[in-house]
């Protein structure tokens, strides 16, 4: 490189000298000779400049290549220590997850508003001709410390009188890593019974909750204050056992220590027309005990299956020592082909069967009996193309015993068929059209037709990628 520089400098001096010597009055032959030499010099200079440049480029290229190889293959330039605390939140999102989801519906039915309220027994179901604010849910969740995660879901509702209600739907903490596959959860939470009950309204595949769940668990689903232990069994397939105890009183534990309204059979908390007494939980035997055994299998690369068995036992308010037991089975199958775009296409099938035995009245009570109710729902979802899901749900529920089941909207024989179509413009919004065909003994005409248009938005981190 120094050679080149030296040559260029010396050429410059030479050129300067040429300029000085090319004075007027010199002999013509001298002048032409000088001119020729000058041209030669210029050509030489150009050539050496070109050579110099191309060599420089080659060197630069080589240097780049070397740097690249050094960085990428021998010595990663930016391997940071992943265990340093500053990196902790980076892969799990913000430390506090805040989300707000709003679920609204517009509906029209052949049934009037009073009838519709009985047909759509869920507290978050669209249940009137016109508009319903089904559920506005604020959810907060985070890892508390190395030992616990916690979550709270607060619900805002607008009731039929236009009043805003606030409910603490859930607030619970969960252990992060106890030994032997154990996990403890405590607080106010949805009882892990079946697949549907613990799901929040915005993750439901249909606009309303299944009839049998409204009957056994009331409008808000089965939830209460308590604690549960779950054990992840060391089996080759997924197998988890849940055992829990919760308070049995309150309006969210219908079928147990719920307070009814006298003998009014149309009150959903009043079962089989039996008069409910004022019975509060006195000792641990008056708690609601729950058990669930959930299993998961991959039947193939494209087909997976979950099978669960659940049971509940607890006191009820029809007598001093009366008890209710509820058992249920749930099956969930999902098929997805090898290639899916954004989770589509898929076909899923979800079925639950539930049965309730309700001891009505103490042994001294002349009307003492055991009320037997059962019901099932079975739903198929078909994710036909990205963002589009078609669904069909069939339901059946009936009961025996009691004064008369025919006029009781919560114990009569009911059938319902609900096709729907949902469009998800993104994971954070949806529009759903659902038609319900109801056959119910308590209805005057025996049946009803309803149409609901549902829409939902989701802000924040709560419901990201729910499908």
């Amino acid at each position: 490189m120094f050679n080149h520089l030296h040559r260029i400098t010396s050429m410059g001096i030479l050129m300067g000298a040429c300029a000085i010597f090319s004075l007027p009055g010199l002999a013509a032959e001298d002048s032409s000779l000088l001119r020729q030499q000058l041209i030669e010099l210029q050509q030489q200079m150009q050539q050496s400049q070109q050579a110099y440049q191309s060599r420089l480029q080659a060197l630069e290229q080589r240097l780049k290549q070397l740097e690249l190889e050094k960085i990428t293959l021998a010595n990663p330039a930016i391997v940071r220590d992943q265990t340093s605390p500053s990196d902790l939140p980076s892969s799990q999102g913000s430390p506090l997850r805040i989300g707000l989801s709003g679920l609204f519906a517009a509906g029209g039915s052949t049934a009037d508003n009073d009838e519709l309220e009985d047909l759509q027994g869920g507290g978050h179901d669209p249940n009137r001709n016109g508009f319903t604010v089904q559920n506005v849910e604020l959810s907060l969740g985070a890892t508390v410390d190395p030992y616990f995660d916690a979550q709270a879901n607060i619900i805002f509702l607008v009731d039929r009188e236009g009043e805003t209600e606030v409910e603490l739907e859930e607030a619970f903490m969960t252990t992060r890593h106890l030994p032997w596959g154990l996990q403890v959860k405590g607080g106010q939470y949805f009882t892990e019974f079946g697949r549907q009950n613990p799901q929040h309204p915005h993750t439901w595949a249909f606009a309303d909750q299944p009839v049998v769940l409204s009957r056994f668990f009331g409008g808000d689903g089965l939830r209460s204050q308590g604690a549960r232990v779950s054990w992840l069994a060391p089996t080759p397939w997924y197998s988890e056992l849940y055992l829990g105890a919760q308070n049995a009183n309150g309006e969210t534990v219908t079928s147990f220590l719920a307070e009814g309204a006298g003998g009014d059979p149309t009150d959903p908390e009043n079962i089989g027309g039996h008069v409910l007494i004022d019975r509060d939980g006195r000792d641990q035997s008056d708690l609601l005990y729950s058990a669930r055994w959930l299993n998961g299998f991959d039947l193939s690369d494209t087909l997976s299956m979950n099978v669960g068995f659940s049971g509940l036992i607890g006191p009820n308010t029809s007598g001093r020592s009366t008890e209710t037991t509820i058992v249920g089975t749930d099956v969930y199958l999902k098929w997805q082909p090898a290639y899916v775009q954004r989770g589509f296409p898929f076909v899923s099938w979800h079925t639950e069967v539930l049965q309730r035995h309700y001891e009505a009245g103490d042994s001294a009570d002349p009307t003492q009996e055991t009320l037997k109710d059962w019901g099932l729902f079975s739903q198929v979802l078909w994710g036909l193309r990205p963002g589009w899901v078609a669904g069909l749900r069939a339901e059946f529920a009936e009961a025996d015993g009691g004064v008369s089941t025919d006029d009781d909207p919560f114990r009569d024989r009911r059938k319902r068929l609900s096709p729907n179509l949902t469009w998800y413009p993104s994971e954070y919004s949806k529009l759903r059209l659902q038609y319900n065909r109801d056959w119910a003994e308590h209805l005057d005409g025996g049946n009803a037709d309803s149409l609901f248009l549902q829409m939902e938005f989701s802000l924040g981190s709560h419901a990201a990628h729910t499908f």
Binding site: P76, P85, G181, Q183, S304
Partner: protein, 303 residues
């Protein structure tokens, strides 16, 4: 009933006792990570991927069978940069495995060891579609990043299993050597595509473009994760014609109608590229993945 429960419990414990013994039990979120981990770990390390290579790891679903795998793992390797944000956090919670929680030695987020492209400057809004504020998470599609990932994996394997450290370093050296040679080969084969303007379906190939020197000028999706509209497609037709773009690249799991429409309108060539190990048959290693990508690109592109 009591007898029945007793028998069931006994069965559980018995079955649990017959687990295979490996030096390390590694769970990865994708097949690409699993392939690199296998290359470094050898036969003594048990590696299993949570998602198959045919599926978009962004939209995986936390299945119970995954809980089982994570609960037994010594090490969890993930893509990071919010790639698995939709399903990994609930999975980690359900798995109740203290070894693989964020911040522990058994948690390896590889987005921290590579230079991420496409970081968002300024505020990010969902009105912009599925954008990742932390940067584009498809970084395994640059073989130079593969070397970085392998090195981080080898270091972590050595920390968790000190007796195997020398073996891991030996395998790492071999992996790096192969990758170094292959990279030259691939770059030579793809020299024709260098500098070419290309359209991608999704913003998932920017690292591949960076490695092989072509440029992605637009996407079939109007915004990341948003389905292409008719208006956007007709705009693309204009762009393809006016800028004489000759190649469209896409993953096998995306719908083909939009690409076919663009092909019919403009004659643009379509290359369906495997985005991951296992995305197409016979892609079993990280090197296989690029061999196939390069083979497809050299057949389709480079006009």
């Amino acid at each position: 009933m009591k007898q029945c429960i007793k028998h069931a419990l006994l069965l559980f414990l018995l079955v649990g006792a017959v687990n295979s013994e490996a030096a390390l039990r590694v769970v990865t979120t994708t097949e690409d990570l699993a392939a690199i981990a296998r290359a470094i770990g050898g036969a003594g390390v048990d590696v299993v991927s949570l998602t198959p290579g045919t599926r978009d790891p962004h939209f995986a679903e936390a299945k119970p069978s995954m809980i089982r795998k994570v609960s037994r793992a010594d090490l969890l390797i993930l893509i990071g940069a919010d790639m698995e944000i939709g399903w990994l956090p609930p999975l980690l919670q359900s798995a109740r495995n203290g070894r693989v929680q964020s911040g522990k030695a058994g948690y390896l987020d590889l987005s921290l060891v590579v230079p991420l492209l496409g970081k968002m400057a300024g505020p990010v809004s969902r009105a912009m579609g599925d954008v990742h504020a932390k940067g584009n998470p498809h970084y395994w599609l640059d073989p130079r990043n593969g070397a970085r990932m392998a090195r981080a994996i080898a270091i972590r394997f050595g920390e968790l299993d000190p007796p195997g450290q020398a073996d891991y370093q030996t395998r790492l050296a071999a992996f790096e050597q192969t990758l170094k040679q292959k990279l030259k080969e691939w770059q030579t084969t793809l020299s024709l595509i260098r500098g070419q303007a290309v359209i991608a379906y999704h913003t998932s190939f920017i690292y591949l473009a960076d490695a092989f020197g072509f440029s992605i000028v637009d996407e079939v999706e109007p915004m990341p994760g948003i389905a292409p509209s008719a208006a956007h497609l007709s705009q693309l037709v204009q762009q393809i014609k006016s800028e004489q773009i000759d190649l469209l690249i896409m993953e096998p799991y995306y719908e083909r109608r939009s690409a076919r429409y663009l092909h019919d309108q403009t004659g643009i060539r379509i290359a369906v590229l495997p985005q991951s190990v296992g995305a197409l048959p016979k892609i079993e290693t990280y090197v296989d993945l690029f061999d196939r990508i390069v083979a497809i690109l050299s057949q389709t592109g480079g006009g």
